[in-house]
Amino acid sequence: MVTYIIRRLIAAVLMLVVVSIVTFSIFFVIPRLAGVTATDFANRYVGSKGATAETVAHLAEKLGFNDPLTVQYGRWVKGIVAGSEFDTGVSIEHCPAPCLGYSFITKTPVWPELLDRLPVTVSLALGASVIWLVAGVATGVLSALRRGSFFDRAAMGVALAGVSLPIFFTGMISLVYFSYKFGITVPGGTFVSFTESPVQWAYSLILPWITLAFLYAASYARLTRAGMLETMGEDYIRTARAKGLPESRVITKHGLRAALTPIVTIFGMDVGLLLGGAILTETTFSLPGVGRYAVQAISANDLPKIMGVVMLTACFVVVANLIVDLLYAVVDPRVRLG
């Protein structure tokens, strides 16, 4: 078990290294291979219009775009670990650790901005994930146990709709009805932090939660249903019944536990990914989260910000993966052997 944990930890660290290399490659290596020169980089990053060619070349030199890629990668990683400074020729910009990037356009380091926006994204992701997990699994289990019933067909029909309908559609519809027409919930763009008022916090997020959860609950219901149908046909379920267990215990203790194992995996991945920003939901409800930050960065062509979001999301996914792997070993004793 201990070797298993250590091996998973090492794997996670290695994964982070790989992720950083891939991210770096996307933003620096591939453009260079495609013929983007150091001065182009300087232009793009600092974006000073009307600067002379010499100024830009000088800037490129100062910012190190002329250095070999390995050196640039080293400097970038060092920035994440220890922070770095950028000499733009005009001023020296400080970017304290962890320096995930420095936006020359807004003249701000990326990390503090991400930190500002994380509470929104985390609130959104965690709240929604609890809702979809409970609703999706419950629906899936009921559907499986009443296969072919009206409930099953209706639930699966709704689930199919849920999987197919995009957030900006369901989100808009619910905003129109619940916020503007009936006034039950707050309009988009409102976010009250949890520390300020938990009730207001939940109230401000309830609509985005449900909208986002609907999408995921649909696929979780389908997954749970399939998993339960398979598990309930297993021999050990028959054994549990033969022992004289009440059906409710057969379902929860023997059936659901086994059926949930694959769900745990997907759940971890989904939450990890969402923590990097629910772009559509945040945009639809105008929530100032990481996803919306990414969208704004993309429209402003602010590469350091985009790169920061990508790195953050990747880290979340790796960490979520690690947690899932460890959970898996707790749930399924057979995994511990590996």
Partner: protein, 352 residues
């Protein structure tokens, strides 16, 4: 059957060790000695049976002979050629002569292909032209294995278990092989169907002059179908002899235990039958017991069995045993077969 000629298949010192890794760095800490130095010859026209319990290496042996997996050591000579480490490319033409029948007729047939495509596939893979076209050739084979040639265009799911195993056999026969390795060919089938397939294999052998290596755990089926039988235990052959000798006067304690463990459908003798009851299960091939591998379960084991590995030697003509204290050595009267009655093989025609 002809015994004088060169062996069609000759296996010497064959080994297959699967590495076992452990710890963070996946260091190799040992090996599962699935097959650990076995040797036998199979002459043309005969049937060699390989029996043993799970984990004894019989299935691995079958896969080694057909080179589905790469041997760790030893030598396989087929039809005069050393194929031990032959490349897959050079092996391909030889595959025509050496075919394999698998246990599970359900999973070894592609459900999306018609019977015609399945049985005809070997022709296409090997690029062989047939006189009257592939379809005709396939239909002839289908008829040979007792299937309706008109079922050429049907899919595997339209057939019963026994018929599917016939399809599997038809596929192996397409290229007129010399050697067929059958791995548990009947164990997935119903009792009445098992007998049909066993008879079919025997008929085909005499009609097409086939040579078989039959791998099975069912001692009765192996006795029925084999000329010679090798008993395997934890990657080794512990006893090999003509079936009459092996079943009539088994010398290795393990063979004796195996035979006495088989339930006999005879209610009169159930109380009086003497049994050897082995303790426990087969040890793991990862850490097989030293020297004689059977000593942990053997009631005759002495100090020497734990120290010195008994070699496989011929203690009677054509009867090889690897044991320090063999039973039924010449001099002892060979005991009657389990039932306690000796009978001459019958010559009656079967009821039909």
């Amino acid at each position: 059957m002809s015994r004088a000629s060169e062996p069609l298949l000759s296996v010497q010192g064959l080994e297959k060790h699967f590495p076992v890794t452990k710890g963070l760095l996946k260091r190799q800490v040992g090996a599962v000695r699935a097959v650990d130095g076995i040797g036998f010859d199979v002459v043309k026209g005969e049937t060699l049976g390989l029996v043993g319990e799970s984990g004894c290496g019989k299935t691995t042996t079958g896969r080694l002979i057909t080179r589905l997996i790469e041997p760790t050591g030893g030598k396989i000579v087929f039809d005069g050629r050393d194929i031990t480490h032959m490349s897959q490319g050079r092996l391909r033409p030889l595959r025509r002569d050496m075919q394999m029948i698998f246990q599970d007729p359900y999973s070894s047939l592609n459900p999306r292909h018609t019977v015609g495509a399945i049985v005809g596939a070997p022709y296409r893979i090997q690029g062989i032209k047939t006189e009257h076209g592939v379809k005709r050739a396939v239909q002839e084979i289908l008829e040979l294995v007792g299937l309706n040639p008109e079922h050429y265009n049907r899919y595997p799911h339209e057939f019963s278990g026994g018929q599917r195993q016939r399809i599997g056999i038809a596929r192996t026969l397409a290229l007129k092989p010399k050697l067929i390795i059958a791995d548990e060919p009947v164990s997935a089938l119903d009792v009445s169907i098992q007998a049909q397939v066993v008879n079919l294999l025997e008929d085909l052998q005499s009609e097409l002059d086939l040579t078989y290596v039959v791998i099975a755990h069912d001692l009765s089926v192996v006795r029925h179908i084999s000329d010679r039988v090798a008993v395997m235990y934890l990657g080794k052959i512990v006893e090999m002899a003509d079936r009459t000798d092996l079943y009539g006067s088994p010398m290795h304690p393990y063979t004796n235990a195996l035979l006495s463990a088989v339930p006999i459908p005879d209610v009169r003798r159930r109380s009086e039958r003497e049994r050897i009851r082995l303790q426990g299960d087969v040890p793991s091939p990862l850490n097989p017991p030293p020297a004689c591998r059977f000593h942990t379960r053997c009631w005759k084991a002495q100090e020497i069995c734990r120290k010195v590995e008994p070699p496989l030697t011929a203690l009677a003509p054509g009867h090889q045993v690897a044991c320090h204290f063999p039973e039924n050595l010449s001099g002892d009267a060979p005991p009657a077969p389990a039932a306690g009655q000796e009978k001459e093989p019958g010559t009656i025609s079967p009821v039909s």
